[in-house]
């Protein structure tokens, strides 16, 4: 059998044309799939400086070479596009079943171009792609949308869709599948800008693997390793619902818009407290972890709220941001975000930003539609979630994200806008976990913990070496290790959590070889090289858009205001040597002092086609 490099579907919504194309073998060898395919095609097909919400932007939705197979935790789906929040590279990852179903209809990815002249949705099957009118779906939330399409196309249908937030171009709107989201970077707004409400796939399970026998054997080995792994067992029990126990004890649980690192009353929001509200579990295709923990509120003002979450980031977004300890409010806010199609991290961060401005008198009741945004007021927080998604009143301003909202408000509000490159920070305080922080600063998508998660700082991981979480330039090697490692694992597209389940180093490459028929993939050194190649091409995308060293910065607050941790270590920490860190990071990456990939590095990685675009002043 020949190399199995995969096929993709190109849909032009302006013309209504659809076309199936094959991925060239050399692209498969160089980029493997998933995130690698995403940046390769986005880079080569997008002109610089296109409007992220304009007709010329492209939306790429991908699975990976292992999607839909018997292996566990390898059927994630990913969105690659140009971000309306940052104006740079966007990558966002989602779960549930859609990644597998996209494979079952025969595709490893879809490139969506142009803009429909009315709301539409795509229906994919083995027979091809049809563009349907979505006038009746426009305005519906994600739950109603998915139910309607499932009723229409049958139970063997899975989909991704946007909610009202995506339709209204909220800059951090999410794309939703079942109750899992590709939350970050505003990919839902890009989908909404194309008048595309949903993509549904109907198919029975069918797969093409290069060597099915070898794959099946490796898959069994993977299952054994995972089931015997303690990290997996813990993840199955808790998901991420008790990560806040750790981060709060470390003093890196951001509170009051990143001014404190511990929350007063934290004992009310522990994983054990969430356990009391748990009603069930849900998971992604072919994953036994079922790490999504569902919660229902039975009493009080949020009685009836039900969410297939919240997980750690969302717990933080709706507690620490507004200094609330109501876990019931977090369930209600999470349910709303999933229904309306919002990224919980940016939504919570934007609300926390507004609360600080209210505290400082920069915003008053006259600006907030009468809402009293006092810390601890979780009812106003839940109201704001709706207002943002529907762009009502002050929600219209906050729907722009903290960077743009601060620029609009002025009055010194810029120091309260906690973002990198326009993407709001997630739930790890950079001054107390600096490896994590510098990952935010240098990530091409902006402040994402998942771009290069520092397990060394947060959980004491010892691979490749332990970290001192208050060290700065000394940890540049760890930031690179975490970022490159994430990149090659997301060619799978593997679940980021499964990296700790004891199978990736020994089996992932062999599985790729069995799936694709490309021997190099069984060499882990080669996988690391592909990870570096992906990182450099994503960086080159941003350089072409005008990004450089000055955008690789943490928010001013982290550089100038001491962290208050209350009782944890790290009181008074600031980020002292960002410039020294960047010098070291760029040097280790083989980049120039301006933060551009050097010609030598690009040639070494086989990215010669980028060289002409790097003719910016270096």
């Amino acid at each position: 059998m020949a190399i199995n490099s995969g096929k993709f579907l190109r849909v032009n919504l302006s013309t209504g044309q659809t076309m199936t194309e094959s991925v060239p073998h050399q692209v498969a060898i160089d980029f493997i799939g998933g995130r690698g395919y995403g940046i390769k095609y986005l880079y080569q097909e997008l002109d610089a400086n296109v409007d992220p919400l304009g007709e010329d932007n492209k939306l790429i939705i991908l699975n990976g070479p292992l999607a839909g197979t018997s292996t566990q935790a390898t059927s994630r789906w990913m969105v690659i596009t140009k971000s309306p929040l940052t104006g740079g590279f966007a990558r966002s990852v989602g779960g549930a079943d859609f990644g597998a179903w996209l494979k079952f209809v025969g595709y490893e990815f879809i490139i969506i171009e142009g803009k429909a002249d009315r709301p539409v949705y795509l229906h994919l099957s083995r027979e091809g792609c049809q563009i349907h009118d979505a006038g009746d779906l426009w305005g519906k939330d994600t739950k109603e949308t998915q139910k309607t399409l499932k009723d229409e196309h049958g139970g063997n249908t899975r989909m991704v869709c946007i909610g009202p937030a995506g339709e209204k171009l909220v800059r951090y709107a999410a794309i939703v599948s079942d109750r899992r989201t590709a939350g970050r970077c505003g990919t839902g707004a890009v989908m909404g800008s194309k008048n595309l409400k949903a993509i549904a796939a109907t198919a029975a399970r069918t797969l093409e693997l290069f060597d099915e026998t070898a794959y099946a054997q490796l898959s069994k080995q993977q299952a054994t390793l995972i089931m015997e792994n303690k990290g997996f067992q813990n993840h199955r029990e808790w998901g991420t619902t008790r990560t806040q126990n750790i981060t709060n004890s470390l003093g890196i649980y951001p509170v009051l818009n990143f001014r404190y690192g511990q929350q007063v009353g934290h004992e009310k929001i522990t994983g054990e407290e969430y356990r009391r509200l748990r009603t069930g579990e849900f998971g992604c295709y072919s994953c036994p972890a079922r790490c999504g923990k569902a919660h229902r509120v039975e009493t009080g003002s949020y009685s009836g709220a039900y969410s297939e979450g919240p997980e750690y980031e969302t717990i933080w977004a709706f507690t620490g941001s507004v200094d609330s300890t109501s876990i019931e409010a977090t369930v209600a806010a999470d349910e709303l975000c999933d229904d309306l199609g919002l990224d919980t991290i940016s939504a919570g961060a934007c609300i926390g930003f507004a609360y600080e401005l209210y505290e400082k008198g920069i915003l008053t009741k006259a600006d907030t539609d009468g809402l009293e945004l006092k810390y601890g007021n979780h009812a106003a927080m839940v109201t704001l979630v709706k207002k943002i998604a529907l762009r009502e009143g002050i929600g219209d301003l906050l729907a722009e994200g903290t960077m743009r909202a601060a620029a609009s408000i002025g009055k010194g509000s810029e120091v309260c806008a906690i973002h990198v490159k326009g993407l709001e920070l997630p739930a790890y305080e950079p001054r107390g976990s600096k490896t994590q922080g510098f990952n935010y600063a240098t990530a091409s998508i902006g402040a994402s913990h998942c771009f290069g998660y520092s397990g060394q700082d947060v959980f004491g991981a010892v691979v490749p070496r332990p970290s001192d979480r208050f060290a700065e330039e000394e940890n540049a090697d760890l930031v690179i290790y975490n970022q490159n490692g994430t990149a090659w694992k997301e060619t799978g597209i593997n679940c980021t959590f499964s990296a700790g389940w004891g199978w990736v180093d020994s089996l992932f490459g062999k599985l790729l070889t069995a799936a694709r028929g490309i021997d190099q993939f069984s060499d882990n050194d080669y996988l690391w090289k592909v990870g570096e190649r992906i990182l450099n091409l994503e960086r080159a995308f941003n350089v072409r858009e005008g990004f450089g060293r000055k955008e690789d910065t943490l928010p001013q607050r982290m550089l100038t205001e001491p962290l208050h941790t209350r009782e944890a270590p790290g009181e008074g920490q600031i980020v002292r040597n960002q410039d020294k860190f960047l010098d070291n990071y760029y040097w280790l990456r083989g980049w120039t002092e301006a933060g551009f990939p050097s010609p030598e590095k690009l040639k070494e990685l086989g990215l010669d086609f980028v060289l002409n675009d790097m003719n910016v002043e270096q």
Binding site: E228, N229, K230, G231, Q233, N234, H235, E237, W238, T240, R242, T243, Q244, I246, T247, S249, L250, E311, Y312, E313, A427, H449, C450, Y453, G455, D457, V458, F459, G460, A461, V462, V463, P466, R469, T496, F497, A499, G500, W501, G502, E567, A568, P569
Partner: protein
């Protein structure tokens, strides 16, 4: 008579506020369990943070010896001269 070994336990950052900032301590334990018992003798406040009520290491903790997990033997896993032990939290992200 059995001879004690000389190994090192690296105390993770998330426990350092409980041990006055001590990062590494020597141990003579011949198993992971004995090493942790010695650690608790020196820092009794760690006991509840390391062990659940049934005497097992908490489900979210693991001990690595020279970079490799001690699970599933865990507390009975032998420790040799010169070994480096790390206590890690096996929650993976959030």
């Amino acid at each position: 008579m059995t001879t004690k070994v000389s190994a090192a336990i690296n105390i993770p950052q998330f426990f350092q506020h409980l041990v006055d900032g001590v990062k590494v301590t020597k141990t003579g334990g011949r198993t992971v369990g004995e090493c942790l018992d010695e650690l608790i003798e020196r820092f009794p406040q760690l006991e509840a943070h390391l062990f659940s009520g049934d005497g097992k290491l908490h489900g979210y903790l693991d001990v690595f010896i020279n970079g490799k997990s001690a699970y599933p033997e865990e507390l009975s896993k032998p420790v040799a001269d010169g070994d480096e032990l790390h206590i890690i939290n096996i929650i993976v992200g959030g």
